[in-house]
Structures are given as structure tokens and as C-alpha cells.
């Protein structure tokens, strides 16, 4: 059963949110979805780059108010 988890990395700057995501990604199981919350605009560009390079799946990316919601799925 795949799980869904929210990681709140608001108010920390590059590369804080990305490193938070990577930490949880290592612990997650294949198929799990992680949603990273970040107020750092650079992170919104950096996360899709990282996901693409490492080979996971970018599910969605949207900014709600001041907060980026970056949803990713672990694929391997």
C-alpha cells in the first residue's frame, strides 16, 4: 500500500527544502507520494531538475499563496 506524506520545509532556504525532500525520499517506498511545502522560489525550479536527473516522477507543482506545493512520486 503506497503512502502519501507532507513535508513542511517552509521558511528555510536553498538547499534546505531539497535536502529535506531527499532525506524523506530515501526512507520512502517505491510508489509513495511526497508533497514538499516550500516558501523558497528557487526550490520550485530545483526540485523538478533533481527529480528528472535522479529519475523519479514529478506529479504536480503549484503555488498557493506564498507556498509552493511540489508533489513527487518515488519510482525506484
Amino acid at each position: 500500500m503506497s503512502e502519501s506524506k507532507i513535508i513542511d520545509a517552509c521558511n528555510t532556504y536553498c538547499p534546505g527544502p531539497l535536502m529535506e525532500l531527499i532525506t524523506y525520499m530515501k526512507q520512502a517506498k517505491v510508489g509513495d507520494t511526497l508533497e514538499l511545502l516550500s516558501t523558497d522560489n528557487g526550490t520550485a525550479n530545483d526540485v523538478p531538475e533533481w527529480i528528472n536527473k535522479v529519475g523519479h516522477e514529478m506529479v504536480s507543482s503549484e503555488k498557493v499563496g506564498e507556498v509552493w506545493h511540489l508533489k513527487v512520486r518515488k519510482t525506484k
Binding site: 532556504y13 536553498c14 535536502m19 531527499i22 536527473k53
Partner: protein, 129 residues
């Protein structure tokens, strides 16, 4: 494609240590083969129990501590834990400081001489801070 990145840290200023740690952590967590070689003023921050913060070189260094930027020591630790980055103390610096590997933070590898470091660095990119 993963690449080989060698980082040399010699400066003890906050901005330089921060930038080196940012590159090391992101590159290592992305699958690059990262080695960080610490010497001169950069090494003493990694002696166990060292609490003094690195002095800011300019205005940006002050911003780093006011805002929620992850501290450089945490980023180097994550580089080692999440991305298997090698953190190596310069053997000459170890000798001059009169310390042993056991006195450094646990992520640190063995004291490494320049000959060894340079032969490992062959074919990779070398960045100096």
C-alpha cells in the same frame, strides 16, 4: 550522468564554507561522486565540540545566519549521509593542529595527503573555496 567533483575547502569564512557545503550536498544527493578535502582555516570547525561559528566575510554572511539557511556543517553531514560524499582532512593540517581523526566529526574519513588526493582527483572537476 554522474560526474566526479572534488572540492577543496581552505577558507574559514562562512560564505565560502556555505557555498562549498551547498554544492557538496546537492551534488552528492544527485548521485555525483563527491570528495571534499579540508585544510587550513576550514578544518578546525570540524573538530568535535567546536562551537564557534565561522565569521562572515561580508554582508551576505550576516544574512545567512538571520534567515533560515541550513548551517554548513549540517549540509556537509547530509552530503556524507545521503550521498556518500567523502570528507577528508588534510594530513598536513592534522599534524599542524596536533589532532587525530578521532577528534574530528564522525563523518570524516582518514587524514589524506596531497599525492593521494590528487591521484583520486584525476579526471574530475576541482573546485576550491
Amino acid at each position: 550522468m554522474s560526474q566526479k567533483i572534488q572540492i577543496v575547502c581552505v577558507s574559514g569564512t562562512r560564505e565560502k564554507l556555505q557555498m562549498a557545503a551547498m554544492i557538496a550536498s546537492v551534488a552528492a544527493a544527485t548521485g555525483d561522486e563527491v570528495t571534499v578535502f579540508f585544510s587550513m582555516n576550514a578544518l578546525p570547525y570540524f573538530i568535535k565540540g567546536h562551537v564557534e561559528d565561522a565569521p562572515a566575510e561580508g554582508e551576505f554572511g550576516a544574512l545567512l545566519t538571520q534567515k533560515g539557511v541550513p548551517p554548513f556543517k549540517q549540509l556537509f553531514r547530509q552530503a556524507a549521509e545521503l550521498g556518500d560524499a567523502k570528507l577528508l582532512p588534510c594530513s598536513m593540517a592534522i599534524d599542524l593542529l596536533n589532532i587525530t581523526q578521532d577528534e574530528l566529526d564522525p563523518e570524516f574519513g582518514p587524514p589524506t595527503g596531497l599525492t593521494h588526493f590528487l591521484s583520486d582527483a584525476e579526471g574530475g572537476q576541482l573546485l576550491t573555496f
